[in-house]
Amino acid sequence: MAEEVVLLDFWPSPFGMRSRIALAEKGIKYEHKEEDLRNKSALLLQMNPVHKKIPVLIHNGKPVCESLIQVQYIDEVWHDKAPLLPSDPYQKATARFWADYVDKKIYEVGGRVWKTKGEKQATAKKELIETLKLLEKELGDKPYFGGESLGYVDVAFIPFYSWFYALEKCGNFSIEAECPKLIAWAKRCMQKESVAKSLPDQQKVYDFILEMKKHFGIE
């Protein structure tokens, strides 16, 4: 049976990027549909009625929602190529923990860096660096979080790298100065075609953030 795969997406979304990377790693052909989040398509509302959010992966007409669940689903269904999760249950648990940690921390804390100013922003910057340092420690001397090859945590985390430039400009700080090993890891990931093709240009993301700031009336 022909596989029909559609991804409902929005170009700057780090969550959408995760699924793009996973699909590319597995060499899956899919239809990419860009959503206008101010005017969501009937398809999106039908496929994700609970949250009405992207990304939504539609496989043979059936929706899978939540980016990390999509990555796990892609890994299970197309299991014969480029495994993303380890097979050992304990290592799997560790990978799930760190992907969950990225989910809970990076987006929210990063958001506060560009949405706030003054003391609130200073606090957000400090928290972000602490979070990144913890992840840097977990990476250790491995080339990837997944070990020798790109894995689940790498896919969960690398999309946020496309936002680093914007956060640095908004917060007037350097992430590389604080977390050089992490930036080295990010650049290593970017050398992979699946990642390079899935992440938007950092300047473009910065321009997008500036527009959002104007829209929300943030200085």
Partner: protein
């Protein structure tokens, strides 16, 4: 034989999720009660990042975050599976587990918030109940897991048991059974399962504890 230890706290729904999973699979374990106001060095050593319960230690290796623990348990001990075998059905189950997991920290604030903040929490509760009623419990299933409970049922345990506790502590009624008939049936079914029924913390005990804690929190806020 590998030893299984569980670090827990008597009133935490997150801990009960792990207890139920272990009992459903018939896994013997040693339970260590933690005093959350005075955490043991062992707990802090096993979970240095979040310093929370539950922590499962299997063969000397710690696992934390209740859903991560549950998935680990399900993989190590495959009897009485807690997730569907089919990848798509599993993805749907994981969606609802994440839904419940994301809501839990917010809805737990019901008993210790007031005014506008509490109203916002009530709104979250109602959104969750509506989503369960309209989208999750379709087809009049007995449990999210079908004829037997699974990880999704376990994930919604706050709705089944702790909602009543929070309502009593806050002196506030949020759940009106006639508005959520499917959720109501599910709660009754869930709490009738022997392993659940026999392993639930005493409601009065938690309410008394939370009332004291709420007073302490409100006193320290006004000081």
């Amino acid at each position: 034989m590998a030893v299984v230890k569980l670090f827990g706290a008597w009133l935490s729904p997150y801990v009960y999720k792990v207890i139920w999973a272990l009992k459903l699979k018939g896994i013997p374990y040693e339970y260590i009660e933690e005093d959350l106001s005075n955490k043991s060095p062992l707990l802090l050593q096993y979970n240095p990042i979040h310093k929370k319960v539950p922590v499962l230690v299997h063969d000397g290796k710690p696992i934390y975050e209740s859903t991560v623990i549950l998935r680990y348990i399900d993989e190590i001990w495959p009897q009485n599976p807690l997730l569907p075998a089919n990848p798509y059905d599993r993805a749907v189950a994981l969606f609802w587990i994440k839904f419940a997991d994301d809501k839990n920290p917010i809805i737990a604030k019901l008993y210790r918030t007031e005014g506008e903040e509490q109203q916002a929490v009530v709104k979250e509760w109602l959104e969750m109940l509506e989503a369960m009623e309209e989208h999750a419990l379709i087809g009049g299933k007995k449990f999210f897991g079908g004829d037997e409970i699974n990880m999704v049922d376990i994930a919604f345990c706050m709705v089944a048991h702790w909602l009543g506790v929070f309502e009593d502590t806050a002196g506030l009624k949020v759940f009106e059974p006639h508005k959520f008939p499917q959720v109501s049936s599910w709660i009754q079914n869930f709490k009738s399962v022997p392993i659940i029924k026999d392993n639930l913390p005493d409601t009065d005990k938690i309410v008394a504890y939370l009332k004291r804690r709420k007073e302490m929190l409100l006193t320290s806020k006004s000081n």
